[in-house]
Subunit: 451 residues, 2 copies
């Protein structure tokens, strides 16, 4: 790996821009120098914008991607968790609709004796964010200083917080620039952004949940697999154990979409109940985390162990402990009505009979944004109470007039807009749809190996 | 053509960046909106930098190139020369070493009754600039306000000035950004930059001198022909008569390189003398200008006419008149020693016998920059007196110890550096080189037609 102190004599941003523009491979030292100079304010936005666009259109080699990740990682603080005498494992999802697995996984895996230091993000666009969900728990603090984060982690084995200014500041600055220069959609840049933040957590191993389907950023399995492979290889180059699961996002995960509603569903799963797809995916991801964290000798064993931790209430206890340590009100676990509640509910009804054949999944997320439960822009605030509860999922029969979903809302006008969108995006067909898409499409473990 | 007032509803720079990034064609209205918003300071540098890089790597269609040219043209003032009852023709060169044809052509073509409104640039890198050459004439003012420029043009038929703030301000701003973002080297952007400034001169017709060879920006004939074709088509789309000559820049044009030295050589040509290649190219370019300006019925007739205007002294008289009108000292024409003179001269001698087989032509220009006769950066000042006088050109025999070139210098240290570089860049071979490269490689007149 590049030493973060690698230097380039007479570094000039223009040379690095031209080299990438002409399709030549940059050295680790060149990438490191560019990232450092940008973070230090010595290279202006416009030069980095030109370089980013060249990187998007010319692509990056594996070595360049790892060097960029490394440079971004070392632009800030890297947590040293060596004082904890256990394995440290995290999970990261590329984002979807109704994806609340992080809230189950952190306490579940911590209950098995593995440390889970989870630094998460907020929702943007059609996808929800872990921090927004956690904040629907009254009092829950997602802005922990790193010292406090370490204490919570040490005490209960898991801690969940937002990205602080100390973690990968280069990513923060680069992401803001990418957002306004049309350079977000590059697997290389996405990989470096995700992996630099995850590596800063001081973990040994990482399980990646790469979503694919109509509700994911990567709509096609090919694009999702490419990104997954890239992240796995980058993690390996940086000396970490990384596994990526390509999982289905062609319909919302579970039944609930919206911050407080999703926490309620998380509590259901932590009580050993909850919808099958959500519970199954949590167990699958937890099993890989346990396996990489050496808490079991195989993934099947990890699944059994995870199921027991849910059924025994040990995972729920761990969640309770973390909520208390992060100043949240643990009584929501016993009485979910203490979570924010919307004032009104209305059903979206089927206009014909048949079977639910598919979801325009991204639009379900958008319907939640319309209700006020998500963000169109970073600076928007969210209403934790609103959301959507699906009454039907793909493959289920439905009669005309029967509810397809229930909207929880605080504004009649917004509910009407969300209702129209939901009516359009839940597709009913006369025929029963064919074989369901599997929950886990692929597992990607190392170069070229997929099973 | 795009009306300059074409608008895009809800214009967002990010949409235009993404569209170009994805290889889709932008509309004239989108390009117009982007250029206007940038010129007005409503779109930041970093968004335009990303767009420029996408345009470099994705390329631009003919319609996009013309729309960009048009938008840049209409970002500022377009001269209205309709008050002059004659045809208006200009010439533009893509730049080379020892290329002083503009100073011959403006008075020569004006002497034939055609108006030549010439807005020129300064030297940068290895190529010289018309304004720097003119300024070596004591008192000569190249910063004419547009009103004064029009008066000089009306009085003597030609006028030569620098780009004012009123002309194509979008080009000025875009060029400065391209210079620092690695987005200079794109034929589409080069075409729009050149053509927008030339179209602002209020001309009917334009002769383009596109240089190719080791001293040109376009080293290969293929690249030069592509740019020439693009500029000819863009001019035609904008309703102008445009012809491009691909001319040789594999060795310096004429014998003199350096500002005052080149003016001396210009005076020689205007007196009917001067080196063959320079005189022949001036006559060739003048003939095309006369032909497009309808002062003759064919290019051969134009050549005869041009030769007569040189031999009769009428072209020189016109130059004298323009120098007087632009506050210069016309006595330099009768006594070139009134031009700035370097304090010292030294010969660069051949280290072996044989034939001059080739020049690393760009390095001859660089040797002049080293002496102080050109600019490495825009803000550098130039020494008008220094330069290089070639004693040999390609194909000529040479004996060891014979002078290849004479350096005119004001600094021993700089002369020593220039001398070493010149020794390296004039190649001597034992065999006489084969057939000389022609002076004019191709004439490009309209879509696909080259003769």
């Amino acid at each position: 790996m590049t030493a973060p102190s690698a230097t380039v004599e007479n570094f000039r941003a223009i040379d690095v821009i031209r080299k990438k523009r002409d399709g030549r491979e940059l050295s680790s030292a060149e990438i490191g120098a560019l990232v450092r100079a940008y973070t230090d304010g010595k290279v202006p936005d416009y030069q980095v914008a030109a370089w980013l666009m060249a990187a998007v259109l010319r692509g990056m080699s594996r070595a360049e991607t790892a060097a960029l990740t490394d440079a971004m990682l070392h632009s800030g603080e890297v947590l040293d968790l060596s004082f904890l005498p256990v394995n440290k494992v995290d999970k990261h999802s590329t984002g979807g609709v109704g994806d609340k697995t992080s809230l189950v996984l952190a306490p579940l895996v911590a209950a098995a004796g593995i440390a889970v230091p989870m630094i998460s993000g907020r929702g943007l666009g059609h996808t929800g964010g872990t921090l927004d969900k956690l904040e629907s728990i009254p009092g829950f603090n997602v802005n922990l200083p790193l010292a406090k984060f370490r204490r919570v982690l040490e005490t209960c084995g898991c801690a969940m917080t937002g990205q602080t200014a100390e973690i990968a500041p280069a990513d923060r600055k680069l992401y803001a620039l990418r957002d306004v220069t049309g350079t977000v959609e590059s697997p290389y840049l996405i990989c470096a952004s995700i992996m630099s933040k995850k590596m800063a957590e001081g973990i040994d191993s990482l399980v990646l949940d790469v979503k694919t389907g109509s509700g994911a950023f990567m709509k096609t399995e090919k694009d999702a697999a490419f990104l997954a492979q890239l992240m796995v290889e980058t993690g390996q180059r940086m000396g970490k154990n990384v596994v990526a699961l390509l999982t289905d996002m062609d319909q919302p995960l579970g039944l609930m979409v919206g911050n407080a509603l999703e926490v309620k569903e998380v509590i259901d799963v932590l009580r050993g109940a909850g919808p099958d797809d959500l519970r199954d995916l949590c167990i699958e991801l937890a099993a890989w985390m346990l396996y990489l964290g050496k808490a079991c000798s195989g993934v099947e064993e990890g699944k059994q162990q995870s199921l027991q931790l849910l059924q025994s209430g040990k995972a729920l206890d761990k969640f309770r402990q973390m909520i208390e340590l992060q100043s949240g009100d643990p009584r929501v676990l016993d009485d979910p009505r203490r979570l924010p509640q919307a004032n009104h509910r209305v059903d979206v009804k089927a206009t014909s009979s048949g079977y639910v054949s598919s979801f325009a999944c991204e639009q379900v997320g958008t319907a939640c944004v319309i209700l006020g439960g998500g963000r169109e822009r970073k600076e928007d605030s969210v209403d934790p109470a609103v959301g959507i509860v699906l009454q039907k999922k793909v493959g289920q029969p439905v009669s005309a007039g029967e509810p397809l979903a229930t909207i929880h809302y605080n504004s009649e006008a917004l509910a009407a807009r969300a209702s129209r969108l939901l009516t359009e995006c839940i597709v009913i067909s006369a025929e029963r749809p064919g074989v369901n898409r599997p929950l886990v499409h692929q597992v990607i473990r190392s170069s070229g190996e997929a099973n």
